[in-house]
Amino acid sequence: MRSKPKWLFPVLALLPVLGLYACLRVYPIAETLRLSLFKWNIISRRKPFVGFDNFVELMSDPLFLEAIFNTTIVAFGVLVITIPVGLALAALINSRQGLRRSGFYETSIFLPHVVSLVPAAMAWKWIFDARLGPLNALIGWFGIPAQSWLFDPALSLVCLIVLCSWQSIGYAVLIFLVGLKNVPEALYEAARLDGASSFQAFRYVAIPLLKPVMLYVSVITLISSYNIYAQAFVLASDVQGAPGHLVRVLVLDMLENSFRNYRVGYAAAEAVVLLVIVLVLTGAQFRLFRDRSRA
């Protein structure tokens, strides 16, 4: 009996997964690119090819530009908070590793990342509430006048950033902790023998080694914050008889265009813009971290 060829198992094993990828990832992505070139309305029968018209229209669409602006502010706001705070917390927790209480630290910091999004957003909505919320009670204690957090256009962005950072910090801490555990003890010892303080050891030994992890965390954080939707949906939308201030984010604008205005082609063009932004930012982060680690 001839033995089976060597490639048979890996190819057969991989095929179903590749099939899923082709159908669930590659094809819809390609389809998005294609739809973005059409005037594709859900319920009208004529769906003509319009070239780059959708993109041209986007560039002067005030709602889309507002959405891009808001989303960018939130994404970078979250990034700027998550990375340093996450790193600092990870370093602190790492120094208490092995103690029983470190379990509490890890759980409490990571929990916001895994609890259901909508209930968490509801909790924050109440915290930010201008009339009943504890936040205004707290700042009132310090003599600061009550703010209408969710109605002021600038403050409502701050609220979104706080909520999203609260959720993303846990994940960053976890990944940083993993990275810190992998830093060889000997390196710290060497630094200490050279007279470095523990902060210096952390700064000059651990941080450079953590660069790939930081890259990973910042890419993930940025991508996921460019996709925020549920948070804005709950935190900043209105309910019957009680209007709120809507924070227009990219995904919300996309869904509104496709499922409310029925303009799927136009929404696909927005999706393509989102894709380009994410790709450019990811590329930029790769470059940034690589250059720094060479220097």
């Binding site: 919320g133 504890p134 009670a137 910090i169 993993v178 992998n182 952390f202 996709n227 999706a271």
Partner: protein
């Protein structure tokens, strides 16, 4: 910032610096939990107390009325059930596809495998929301709206999972082990199931937790795919519930608190495995 202690010291832990760190971490931990504490506490408050100023942290006269009301008004338990099934199947699919693909891509070197791996990783950079609409049109064309398969379509594979497993396989499973089994005449399928899979328990456990929570917290996709009260996932059901009822913070908090309990509980139970699993995956590279 307070001066962090030496990152992995094994000297006396109860130095003043160490205790200062404990105080900071304890405070941060409480702050992170505070919103959830407020939520749960609001679920037990009476309507007048909810309107009281300043807000209280521990309810004066706790009541079960909100929770009973919510259970009566919404199929909350069904939503939780729907989400559990959805997240469970999604997790099973992601874990198995990641295990097999990660292993194959890590331990076999056909010339086109790096390209395949590249495509898989590249798609992970593309936000799901980007291609959600074409995917939706397909689900609609197949008549799968409002069904579990339609819901699952977006959550069957995870690039990060394949990456994680491949990483683990290349760094932690020696080729010699597989070769020895082959010399003994073991088939490839047997090797994967009997030798490789048991070794991957750690990273697969961590992946399972990640996948579960990804599905558990999914929002945009379930929101467009389900249009029926009976098929909503927990997140969608709650979100729509909250836009329909305004001033009733008590009911909203009760619903939200009930929804929080399963995920918080699950995570607290799985935390140790999860952290160890992620740590053992060679993410350092």
């Amino acid at each position: 910032m307070s001066d962090p202690d030496h990152p992995s010291s094994d000297v006396d832990r109860n130095t003043p610096a160490g205790l200062a760190i404990d105080v900071v971490l304890f405070a941060v931990g409480l702050m992170m939990l505070l919103p959830l504490v407020f939520l749960i506490s609001n679920a037990f408050k009476t309507p007048p107390e909810l309107l009281a100023w300043p807000p209280t942290i521990i309810p004066d006269r706790p009541t079960l009325e909100n929770i009973l009301g919510v259970l009566h008004e919404t199929p909350l338990l069904r939503w939780i059930g729907n989400t559990l099934i959805f997240a469970g199947i999604s997790t099973a699919s992601i874990v198995s596809t990641s295990a097999i693909a990660g292993y194959v891509l890590g331990k076999f070197d056909l010339p086109w495998f790096p390209a395949v791996f590249g495509v898989i990783i590249a798609t992970s950079v593309v936000p799901f929301e980007v291609y959600m609409i074409p995917l939706y049109l397909n689900v609609q064309a197949a008549g799968l709206l409002n069904t579990l398969p339609g819901l699952l379509v977006g959550y069957l594979v995870m690039s990060f999972g394949i990456f994680l497993v491949r990483q683990y396989v290349t760094t932690s499973i020696p080729d010699e082990l597989l070769e020895a089994a082959r010399v003994d005449g073991a088939g490839e399928g047997w090797i994967f199931l009997r030798i490789v899979l048991p070794l991957m328990r750690g990273p697969l456990g961590a992946l399972a937790v990640l996948a579960f929570f990804q599905a558990w917290t999914a929002f945009a996709w379930p929101l467009v795919v389900t249009a029926n009260k009976d098929t909503y996932t927990l997140e969608v059901g709650l979100a729509l519930f909250q836009t329909g009822f305004t001033v009733d913070i008590g009911h909203l908090s009760a619903a939200a608190a009930l929804a929080l309990v399963p995920s918080a509980l699950f995570f607290s139970l799985m935390r140790r495995n999860f952290v160890r699993g992620v740590a053992g995956t060679g993410l350092k590279e």
